[in-house]
């Protein structure tokens, strides 16, 4: 693995150590270790099937890893649930209730997070305003377009002010303009709110030069560092070429 100026902070918002997982006899992740720091969007780049979604399932306790550990904001993800309180998630697959309204979906999530009603109402208004959805709050989700639904999922993931936001290919299926706006908004949120973002993607144009970058290939991390530095260390003209370089080196 190439590690160039990787985030190696003991107080990382997310610390993953030696995580492995197999689907039967087929390994999906092998000894994966990395850190994610607050106030930045750490991009997790990999082809389809590289293990990104499996990793997210382990980070959200949907799957249980037989090895390694996950620490979120200093709290170990284990049998207890304290660590999950600090996490907001946008899954690759949409997880909204289409028959409920925008605000009903958010209230439902707030209840699952144990937020009291007054705080929840304040946060719902704040997030809907921030993501430009406040005028749609009484509309059923079924009537929203794909871009609005994705923004609603992001609003929901941020509702309880998590320390770590996990985004699993959140722009899949969106048009270019909506995708560009969303990518900008999310990078801004990392800077302004200080939230740590781990963003799984296979789209190179979503990654900024100063973003921390982790490249996952065939279930293993083959590069970890700042994007610009990794591109330079690969001697590549751009990230696309660097991505190919690291995959070949790690194969």
């Amino acid at each position: 693995m190439v590690a160039v100026a990787a985030v190696n902070d003991a107080t990382a918002a997310l610390a993953v150590d030696n995580l492995s997982f197999s689907y039967g006899n087929k390994p999906a992740l092998s000894n994966v270790s990395f850190n994610v720091r607050s106030g930045a969007a750490t991009m997790l780049l990999g082809l389809n099937g590289s293990g990104k979604t499996t990793l997210f399932s382990l980070l959200t306790r949907l799957f249980l890893s037989p090895t390694g550990s996950v620490t979120i904001d200093g709290v170990k993800l284990g049998a207890g649930n304290a660590a999950l309180r600090k996490v907001g998630i946008v899954f690759q697959q949409m997880t909204l209730d289409l028959d409920l309204t925008v605000e009903q979906n958010l209230r439902y999530f707030a209840a699952l997070q144990g937020m009291n009603r007054r705080d929840a109402e304040v946060r719902i208004t704040e997030e809907l305003t921030a993501l430009d959805l406040n005028d749609r709050r009484k509309d059923r989700v079924r009537t929203l377009n794909g871009g609005h639904r994705r923004r609603l999922e992001i609003a929901r993931a941020l509702l309880h002010q998590p320390r770590l936001l996990l985004l699993d290919e959140p722009t899949v299926g969106l048009d270019i303009e909506t995708r560009r706006t969303l990518v900008g908004q999310l990078h801004d949120r990392a800077g302004t709110d200080g939230v740590a973002i781990l963003w799984a993607t296979h789209l190179i144009d979503e990654i900024f030069e100063d973003d921390p970058l982790i490249i996952l290939h065939q279930g293993r991390i083959v590069a970890d560092g700042l994007t610009g530095t990794l591109v330079a260390s690969a001697g590549a003209p751009d990230l696309s070429a660097a991505f190919v370089h690291f995959r070949q080196a790690g194969a």
Binding site: G24, N81, L84, I89, L100, R107, A110, A111, L112
Partner: protein, 269 residues
């Protein structure tokens, strides 16, 4: 898990189920029409042929319409349990289940919340049915409506837990028709919902044995006794035991990674 968080999550899950239920008026209507058709058409047809002599919990000769009511209550709860199961398969396909399972609460508690929300919905259906049946001239003791409440909660939990267990093993909504053929019909027809055990014994000892073994029979008998303010200890034990068993099995089987055992292999779709 602290109490206020648990209560908030519980209320959130129940509130969502209620919202969905009231939005699906056809579901409420179907839940009422189904047992009413049995009561008004089927039971009326058999009235002459199938009256019951005095036997517990009844203290006098009982008409077939009266006998069949607890079985139809069971039918309402059985269908509701399976409907909840279908809704969970749908939730899993739509991703909502993923959201629920990643909430910062123990998985068993989240599933119990979902289960008890379904029971609450079934209670609304059962009481609506009981009052409509009364309007059709099927009179049961009014105080029985109160006595039967805790029993309905328990039987609702048992049938809901069975639905929960089924939803964890049914991978696609398309496979759900099998539940109708292999779970609902056998459970309902091979029980004491329509005929007492001794009537079954007259035609076949094997059928009687199956009916006596069927937990749904015990749920129906528990309801039958409670409607007359009487207690049925053996039925309570069977229903309580099955509720715990089905629920524990459902919690165990709701581990998404368990589906990828070495013998099966393959990543998720």
């Amino acid at each position: 898990m602290n109490f206020s968080h648990a209560w908030s999550a519980y209320w959130g899950v129940a509130w969502r189920e209620m919202l969905r239920f009231f939005r699906q008026r056809e579901r409420f209507l179907a839940a009422l029409v189904r047992p009413l058709v049995w009561l008004v058409v089927f039971a009326a047809g058999f009235r002459a042929a199938l009256g019951l002599s005095i036997e517990e919990p009844y203290e006098t000769y009982t008409t077939y319409e009266i006998y069949i009511v607890p079985g139809l209550i069971g039918m309402v709860q059985l269908f509701n349990g399976m409907q909840s199961s279908l809704s969970m398969v749908y939730d899993r396909e739509m991703g909502s289940m993923r959201l629920l399972l990643t909430a910062p609460l123990p998985r068993w508690f989240l599933l119990l919340s979902k289960l008890s929300a379904g029971v609450f919905v079934s209670l609304l259906q059962v009481y609506a049915f009981l009052f409509i049946a009364r309007a059709f001239g099927v009179y049961l003791p009014l105080d029985g409506f109160v006595y039967v409440l805790p029993v309905l909660i328990l039987t609702g939990l048992m049938l809901g837990a069975l639905g929960l267990l089924l939803s964890s093993v049914i991978t696609q909504i398309e496979n759900f028709a099998g539940v109708m053929n292999f779970v609902i019909f056998p459970m309902f027809f091979l029980s004491t919902a329509l005929y007492p055990l001794w009537k079954m014994a007259e035609s076949s000892a094997l059928l009687e044995g199956i009916c006596a073994f069927n937990p749904f029979s015990h749920a129906v008998e528990l309801q039958r006794f409670a409607l007359y303010g009487k207690f049925n200890g053996p039925a309570l034990l069977v229903v309580g035991g099955c509720t715990v068993l089905f629920f524990l099995a459902a919690v165990w089987s709701f581990n998404p990674s368990r589906r990828f055992r070495p013998s099966r292999g393959g990543p998720p779709a």
